[in-house]
Structures are given as structure tokens and as C-alpha cells.
Subunit: 328 residues, 2 copies
């Protein structure tokens, strides 16, 4: 049978801690090698749109699936399909407009768990959109955060973020007037912006990095997109990335490679951390996590949602609508 | 809204002539250039399985979509999703186990319409499976066929084919004892086999080709699969292919390239025929059509089914289950 899950179903089935655990499990499998994840297909369409496809096959667990997302004008829709190899069954197709932001956050949470100081208590957030919210939620799931500062260019938006997220997470959150004020003195920085659509500037600069700080940056997922400057890569003692594909996809990384500030010898993949590689060797180091998202993250997040949705009896069961045909 | 169509829905919504017309329209668009169709992704899985993805974007008509198919053990499932660019809507997701065979047949029908002699009356079929059926049906949709001979190795299967297809198409069909008997004296040959699973032999040999014959071959869709010999390529005066990708994908073509019998100067793409290029310049020529299938064929066939399904009120409407999110 195939379960169809809309946004409301997915929202009800989301548990941030469970999704972080699922993504961690996916990365362990990825580390051990029996995972195929080709570079995403990206096809431009009319009207400033695109059609993108990201598949993954995980042969140890038998999970596989794809994300398809397509944009026309200012709007984008996201679909994830998950397949159980053993049963050869399309288990679910779900809306992943919100889930994509949650899995990005969850991956940041996972990186933060392995990279930030154990006793980190404060977060500076740059950005106030959906990703800024899910990334903060995930960091709060892995550290005992007590205080958050948030900056984004529009005062009403940062104030709304502070009010709503403070209520949701039960911690003190203040909106501040500048990005350097937001990051001043904090243990963890989350840069979660859409700078590509607002000129050539970046939202975070390496000169603001202080010893022992951990920085997460998730907003430069295409060559045209920027959010942190190239100095950030030089100043970080360790750089962790969620996938090697990012070295061809993220504008931030492409620019740092070009300027000679992306030192490959200090770059580690997140999948190495979840099997025990230590990257923070002392309290004073500056650490940087860069992500663009992967199909394994999508599929594992979708699996967590699917399992929960079945327990809660959510969604529309459209039956076994794909025939199992003899392969001739 | 998104319509879910299972096998029964799709079967009810299939009209071979309409599907041939839709594929022709897709090929005209492909010829004029604003179509993106990357090589299919093919990922092996456990248990002799695979996961394949074929997308296409058609920017003139605004149609796009993908086929996902996955095999485990002896069974395979096929999903097609179609998207309307203008509305940015996932219009339908449908079973395409049967539809894939129908679109392969329809493409053969289209090629036959442009390649076979106008007064062709007889067909020799090699193979008796689903593809043999849909390909014969499609040829009968474009020529006034009066008599068909069929060969496949298992007597019961070829007899069943003759009985069932004779009833379905209202023409005389005879099962014969050998492949060369099946093709002897006929105007059109359809080679529709699964020879890869049965050793290294081929099902059709160039020495059986006679002047004015048109041959369709659709069964060698992977480098490991064979159904016609390399002499067939040398003996044909004209070769038409459904996509250039086939020169990397079809075992028949790869072997003919290797043996030096695939003369690129006599190879034409099907999309050139639908905009007016003549390939049969006299009655005596031998013509060969080779296909591996493309995402444009899938999407256009699926669109024909979707339009008909809406008219007939078929399928399960799961609503607008994908959110239209502002792209940030």
C-alpha cells in the first residue's frame, strides 16, 4: 500500500529528536559505503523555475527513494517518495515543503551535537525564515540552550521570530539590530538566510568568529547563492560538510576554493563524525558546519515521518496502486 | 489537485491512437529544441534489483515529469508523475506497468507510420509477451494489416498470443514454428523479446531481411541485452532511433558500433521524421527502427491517459497534497 501525506499529516508526524536519530543512522550507513547518491539533476524551466530530482539507494537497510521539487514563479513544491527495497513497495509519497526545512535543521542539530562545546548555552541566529526556525529548534534538541539573539533585516520579522520561537522553545530570545550584535559572545551561530535574492552581500563574516565558537551555515545551496564570506573558511580550525557534492554546488564554498581559503586538509564529512571521528580537540577551536542537503537526509527524515504517521493513523491510503509486474 | 491512477484506471483510459498522436506532438516539441531529457539514472540494488529515474522538461508546452521504476527479485513497479509547469501542479501519479508497454508500442507505431511502405499488409512478430502485443496493436493502428505470423520459443505462449490478439484486433494471426518462418515474406517485422535472460543468442538476423521490409526492434534497452544481430544494422538502408542515448544503452547498437556495422551516416532520429524528413525514398529499401524509450514518450503517453481519465472520472483525487511554498 502507498500512504499519501499532506502538510498537516507531516506536521503532526514530525518529532525533531527522532528525525535527528534517523539521519544519524542514515549517515552511519553512508559511511559504511553501500549507499548510492548521484549528484542531483537540476533542470531549468520557464518563468525562473526549475525541476530537480534527488534519489538515493541504501542497500544495507534496504531504504531508497527520491525527492522531486519544482518551482514556477515564486512558488515551489516538494515531493518525497520512499520505497522499501525488500517489499519493492512505494510506502509513501509526502509533501516535504516543511519537512525539507526540518531535515536541514535536524542535520545541523546532528553536526552541532558532535561539533559544538558540550556546555554551549547561547545561540546567535542570522535569518528569521522557516529554516532559521527549524535549525534553532534542532540545536536546542542537542544542547541546553538558555539564550538566543536573532537578527534579520526586517524588524517585524525578527521580532516575530523572537516572540514565536521563545514561546515554542521555552527560552529567552531577543531580536537585535545588527548581525554582529547577534553573534557577539555566543557559543553557536546559525546562519540561515536567502542572501542570493538580495544582492551580492554575505550575511556573516569571518572577522566575527571568536575562539570556541561553532558556526552552522545552510543557506548557500546553489553556485549563485552566498551567505558567509570566504574568510570564515580560513578562520575556522575545522570545516565539516554534509556531502562532497557541496564543493560543486555551494556558492560560499566555490568562492572560498577560488580565493584559496578552503583548505581541503581541514575538511571532514559529517558521516565520519557519526562513526567516531573527533573534530573538536580543544575548547578553543572554531568549528564550521556547511550543508546543502542530501537525498539520504530526505529519505531518513521521511522514514521517521512515515513510521510516526502509521502509528497515528494519518494520511490517505491509496492502496497498492503500483502493479508488481514480472520483469521480462 | 493530484489524481492517483492504478492499473485498472490506466487501462480504461488508454486509447492507442491518441497516445500515438501525443507522442508525435512530444517529438515535434523535442525537435524544436526546448526539451531537456538527461540520461536516465540507473542505480543497482540488492537482490538483482535496480532503481531508475527518467525525467523530462518540455518548456514550450509546459509539460514535465518523471518515471521512477524499481525492481526487486523478479518483479518491477513503474510510477509516472506528470507536472503542469504553468500551474506548478503535480497533476497525476499513475501506475505505468502496462502504460510503459503501450508507449513503447505507440512509438513503434509512430515510426512505422513514417517508415513502412504505405501498402504494408502483413506483420511477422518475434516474441509473445506484453510488448509484442502492444507493438502489434500500434502497427495495426497505422497500417491496414490483414495477416500476422508470430513466433516465440514456447508453443503455448505463441498460440495464446495468436488466439487472443486475433480476437482483440480482428485479423488473422498464425503461430509458426521458427523465427525465420515468422518473418518470411512479411512487410513489417516486430522484434519484441527478452533475449538477455535467455543466453547470448539473438532473436532476429540480418540475413532474413528482404527488400522493402521494415523492422522494429524494441527489446535491447540495456548494454547486456541483445535481440537483433549486427548484420541487421549493415543490411538496413536506413536506421531510425528514438534517442541518441540508445548509442550508449542498447546492447544491439553497442555491438554493431563495435563491429563497425553501425554507419552513423544512415542514422536518423525519430523526431526528425515527425517534422518532415523522408527516410523511405523508394519501395525497395530496408528500414530499421530501434528504440529504448524516453521520458518524453512516457510523459506524453501519461498526459493522454490523464486527459482521458479526467473525462471518464477515473482514479482517486488526493487533493492538492503538495503545498505551494514561497521560495525563499
Amino acid at each position: 500500500m502507498t500512504l499519501i501525506l499532506n502538510l498537516k499529516d507531516v506536521e503532526q508526524a514530525i518529532n525533531m529528536r527522532t528525525i535527528i536519530e534517523h539521519i544519524e543512522q542514515g549517515l552511519v550507513e553512508e559511511y559504511h559505503g553501500n549507499v548510492q547518491m548521484p549528484p542531483r539533476m537540476n533542470m531549468p524551466t520557464n518563468n525562473q523555475g526549475f525541476f530537480r530530482l534527488m534519489p538515493a539507494v541504501m542497500n544495507d537497510s534496504g531504504y531508497m527513494g527520491f525527492k522531486a521539487f519544482f518551482k514556477s514563479g515564486p512558488r515551489v513544491r516538494y515531493l518525497i517518495g520512499i520505497i522499501d527495497q525488500h517489499e519493492n513497495n512505494l510506502e509513501a509519497m509526502m509533501d516535504s515543503s516543511y519537512l525539507t526545512a526540518v531535515r536541514t535543521g535536524a542535520t545541523t542539530g546532528l553536526a552541532t551535537k558532535y561539533m559544538a562545546r558540550e556546555n554551549a548555552k547561547t545561540v546567535g541566529v542570522i535569518g528569521s525564515g522557516l529554516e532559521a526556525r527549524t535549525n534553532l529548534e534542532a540545536v536546542c534538541a542537542v544542547r541546553d540552550i538558555e539564550y538566543v539573539k536573532v537578527y534579520s533585516p526586517t524588524p517585524q520579522r525578527r521580532e516575530l521570530f523572537a516572540t514565536e520561537m521563545s514561546e515554542k522553545l521555552g527560552i529567552r530570545i531577543e531580536a537585535v539590530d545588527s548581525p554582529n550584535e547577534a553573534v557577539d559572545g555566543v557559543d553557536i551561530v546559525n546562519v540561515c538566510t536567502n542572501t542570493s535574492t538580495k544582492g551580492n552581500g554575505v550575511a556573516f563574516e569571518g572577522k566575527w568568529m571568536r575562539k570556541s565558537m561553532h558556526v552552522n551555515s545552510i543557506g548557500s545551496t546553489m553556485p549563485t547563492m552566498r551567505e558567509i564570506d570566504t574568510d570564515s573558511f580560513e578562520k575556522a580550525n575545522v570545516i565539516v560538510i554534509d556531502t562532497k557534492h557541496l564543493e560543486n554546488e555551494s556558492g560560499d564554498v566555490l568562492n572560498a576554493i577560488k580565493s584559496g581559503q578552503y583548505d581541503h586538509s581541514k575538511v571532514v564529512e559529517l558521516k565520519e563524525l557519526v562513526v567516531g571521528q573527533k573534530v573538536r580537540t580543544n575548547e578553543e577551536q572554531i568549528t564550521l558546519f556547511k550543508s546543502v542537503g542530501t537525498a539520504v537526509q530526505d529519505i531518513m527524515a521521511a522514514r521517521a515521518v512515515y513510521n510516526e504517521a502509521k502509528k497515528l493513523n494519518l494520511g490517505t491510503d491509496v492502496g497498492d496502486f503500483l502493479e508488481a509486474k514480472m520483469f521480462n
